[in-house]
């Protein structure tokens, strides 16, 4: 009888773990989505996560845990960091968004002094819906909540900027479903215009192929990721956020183009207005996904690098 009771308990736990997706995000049946109650606006203060003790803890977590783990799972190629040498910050990094790997990729690609001063804007309804997820992401990634649907936050992006922190913002608002870039929202551009800070465009490839939406861990085989930082873009005098936002999206598009070819070829295409649309070709969905599920090649862009001194002709 005891054995039966024990077994019944195990079965119940299994049923619940499977039915309620333990360890994964819960889902609402499609026919019930219309009846989901709007969540109360979350007010989750994260100022504490930018205090000195937490910065020390984050340094340990990122360098001692996150980085070795990250590098054990993927290979990275980082280009364009020299643009940061001539700057002091704060700046806003805007990047395309395709995977949960994007944030560790960009943060761990930054020079240490920049990384330590960079906070990440994270969707409040996703990363701050439970206390443990909020605390975890704030400690490890220095996230602060932004409201995708409008609302009041305990800490606004402007305050974080004003405190001298760099921001990492994904203007698309969510991860891409097919690896291609969606339309940029105005938030990052508005912040830059409002606070008069430069924006560093960032383009990366390969994260969708390595760990797309719905996947909890990178695919095996140490997939190649690339990340490229572009020259800072500054809002012109009297430029609207809408116009500036369009320039930011164009800057990221040029960087993506550059990452697949050469800087010179990408510049020339840009000058001719022929930069490939980062939203991808208008073809069947499977072809879009198929193309993006290909990791970037391991070598440098623009074909095989020629050796300066070649022994053979």
């Amino acid at each position: 009888m005891r054995r039966g009771v024990f077994r019944g308990g195990v079965d119940d736990v299994r049923t619940m773990a499977r039915g309620w997706r333990w360890g994964r995000r819960s889902m609402v049946p499609r026919s019930a989505e219309a009846y989901v109650q709007a969540a109360e606006p979350t007010v989750f203060p994260t100022d504490w996560s930018r205090t000195r003790p937490l910065r020390v803890l984050r340094e340990v977590a990122q360098k001692g845990g996150l980085e070795p783990l990250f590098r054990s799972q993927v290979r990275t190629r980082v280009e364009g960091l020299d643009v940061l040498r001539s700057m002091t910050g704060p700046v806003i990094f805007v990047a395309n968004h395709a995977s949960h790997l994007d944030t560790p990729l960009i943060l761990l690609s930054l020079p240490d002094d920049w990384r330590r001063r960079t906070a990440v804007a994270a969707a409040s309804d996703y990363f701050f819906d439970t206390w443990w997820r909020a605390v975890g992401s704030a400690v490890v990634f220095n996230t602060f909540p932004i409201e995708r649907r409008g609302g009041t936050m305990a800490t606004t992006s402007g305050e974080v900027l004003a405190d001298g922190w760099n921001l990492l913002i994904y203007p698309e608002g969510t991860r891409s479903t097919d690896g291609w870039v969606a339309r940029f929202r105005m938030g990052a551009a508005w912040l830059a215009v409002e606070h008069g800070v430069p924006v560093v465009p960032v383009a990366h490839r390969g994260t969708f192929a390595a760990m797309p939406r719905g996947q909890g861990w990178p695919s095996p085989g140490r997939r190649q990721l690339t990340v490229r930082f572009g020259a800072p873009v500054r809002p012109a005098e009297g430029e609207s956020a809408r116009d500036f936002g369009a320039r930011l999206q164009a800057a990221v598009a040029v960087l993506l183009d550059e990452d697949q070819d050469t800087w010179w070829a990408a510049r020339r295409r840009s000058a001719r207005g022929e930069t490939p649309d980062p939203a991808g070709p208008d073809v069947a969905q499977w072809r879009r996904v198929w193309q993006q599920s290909q990791s970037p090649p391991a070598g440098a862009p623009g074909g095989r690098r020629r050796r300066a001194w070649s022994l053979t002709r």
Partner: protein, 526 residues
């Protein structure tokens, strides 16, 4: 803000759903595409109950205010619904207590001396002193019970019954003499479901067998589509005729109350939530409850359930003329329970819980489980049944052939003798009802002990007559096979097996609808 009820369509994102089965519940994985009818969420309760009662009594519908109906030297009788309402019993103070106290305060102020309180239990069992006290409260109980002025209605006390007359269709109207001869009869009702209240209160609750047999019979029940819609129910049509006759002879002041859907107290409140919205705490509560129930001995398990007291909130109180009051009451019940459903299903699935109106603090025997599933739940519709004619019904309940000898003595014989011979409501009515109704031993137990009347199990079986007439297949999951056989149904060990068995009737890919209650719901099938 309470969300309305809705119909879920089971998909790959849907977690297993709670299905009640007696003193327990299971998590059932339904086939993809199954429709699940969820009741509306609990409506907000009236913030000031006493003020709402005062307002209703002083501003009644189609009647003078209650204080104006009270005068010195009058005979005042207060009748009230018995322990079959609400379910589960309400956490103290019961709404009836608060209303009766308000009525008596007005009566005292008006100088009324001759007051009696009668529980309108018809052929239900006599309530114990403790049960009466729970309903009317300590002050009322102390003031009236020791003097014999607070008591259960006795439908077999010939000296205390008055034959008021016959309806235009020849139906006897015979009710409690004290009520019939009062200057004013105040009736305090709890309208838990749409079936309750209106003229079903006085002409049924205070009646005798002679009067009840006109509508509590298989013919009436099979033609009541459904008895949760009083405009389409032959049971209610008969009660309404009786009520209209009574109105000519008697001054009735009807007070009706409606409750919200706060059925389960903590820690069982997760049972009122939609499963995919369960928090970690809710999931832990479910696991803990399932483990506790599987480990607990039967007696403790019974106690765990029957000690539950619902934290119901009042959603409305209306007083005055019975019919005018009832219209408002039904509107309030519909606000809380009505769910729009489009189209009928081939298979209707229902989980029968531990409690029905007739086993408060008692045992849910197979006859009562049948009444609850095929009677109350099947009839929880307006328009047309949730399942199509010729479809199948799948029910969950252990159906243990356990009977409470104190409360249900005639059920034992009904189960062993009557059902062994026939399960056809019309046949058993013609052949056996009179014997059980007039049996002196059952009458004696009804009058002096706490037994349901001898004829009561017949009524329970008639309650299910419409469902039995409407569907071709009734299958019980997880039930005692011998009991199921005795009841004339079929038993399956799982939902998959039940659907396999039903495939002869409804095919291999039937449309399935699961009625997700309790809390209470009323399917408005279009």
């Amino acid at each position: 803000m309470s969300r309305p009820g809705f119909v879920l369509e089971v998909d790959d994102r849907t977690p297993p759903l709670v299905v009640h089965e007696g003193e327990g519940f299971r998590l059932e994985t339904f086939p993809l595409g199954t429709r699940v009818i969820y009741p509306p969420e609990s409506l907000p309760a009236v913030p000031d109950v006493d003020q709402a009662i005062q307002h209703a009594l002083r501003n009644p519908e189609g009647s003078d205010p209650l204080p104006e109906l009270l005068f010195p030297g009058m005979r005042l009788t207060v009748a009230f619904d018995d322990l079959s309402l609400p379910l589960p019993p309400m956490r103290s103070p019961d709404i009836r207590q608060r209303i009766i106290e308000a009525v008596l305060t007005m009566a005292a102020a008006a100088g009324v001396d001759d007051v009696e309180l009668v529980a309108a239990n018809a052929l239900h069992r006599r309530m114990t002193a403790a049960e009466l006290k729970h309903i009317v409260g300590e002050r009322v109980f102390r003031s009236f019970f020791p003097q014999g002025a607070l008591y259960n209605h006795d439908a077999e006390d010939r000296s205390n019954l008055t034959h008021v007359g016959l309806t235009d269709q020849g139906e006897d109207v015979e009710i409690n003499r004290r009520a019939a001869e009062s200057d004013l009869l105040v009736y305090v009702n709890v309208n838990l479901v749409a079936m309750d209240g209106g003229h079903k209160s006085v002409p049924v609750g205070l009646a005798s067998y002679k009067s009840l047999r006109h509508h509590h019979n298989s013919k009436t029940m099979v033609r009541s589509h459904s008895f949760m819609d009083h405009t389409k129910s032959h049971l209610h049509h008969s009660a309404w005729r009786m009520g209209q006759l009574l109105k000519e002879h008697l001054n009735i002041f009807q007070i009706e109350t409606t409750l919200n859907n706060e059925v389960f107290p903590a820690p069982y409140d997760f049972l009122m939530k939609r499963e995919w919205e369960w928090s970690i705490k809710d999931q832990g509560s479910m696991l803990a409850a399932r483990r506790a129930l599987s480990l607990a001995p039967a007696r403790l398990r019974h106690k765990m359930f029957h000690d539950l007291r619902a934290p119901y909130g009042l959603t409305g109180v209306h007083a005055g003329d019975t019919e005018q009051v009832h219209e408002k009451t039904i509107a309030a019940v519909h606000r809380q329970q009505l769910v729009e459903v489009h189209g009928q299903a081939d298979v209707l699935v229902m989980g029968v819980p531990y409690l029905c109106p007739y086993n408060v603090s008692s045992t849910m025997n197979p006859i009562l489980a049948t009444c609850m599933g095929l009677g109350y739940y099947f009839n929880s519709y307006r328009g047309q049944p949730v399942v199509r004619r010729g479809g199948a019904v799948i029910l969950y309940h252990p159906l243990k052939p356990d009977f409470n000898q104190l409360h249900h003595p005639s059920y034992v014989d009904f189960y062993e003798e009557v059902l062994a011979e026939s399960t056809d409501p019309a046949v058993i009515e013609a052949k056996h009802e009179q014997n059980y109704a007039a049996d002196p031993w059952y009458v004696h137990l009804y009058r002096t002990s706490h037994a349901y009347h001898g004829v009561h199990p017949f009524y329970m079986w008639y309650w299910a007559a419409h469902a039995m007439d409407h569907v071709n297949e009734v299958i019980w999951v997880g039930a005692d096979r011998r009991a199921v056989q005795r009841l004339g149904f079929r038993a399956a060990s799982s939902l998959a097996d039940a659907l396999e068995m039903a495939s002869d009737t409804v095919g291999r890919s039937p449309s399935i609808t699961y009625l997700h209650n309790p809390p209470h719901l009323l399917a408005d099938v279009r």
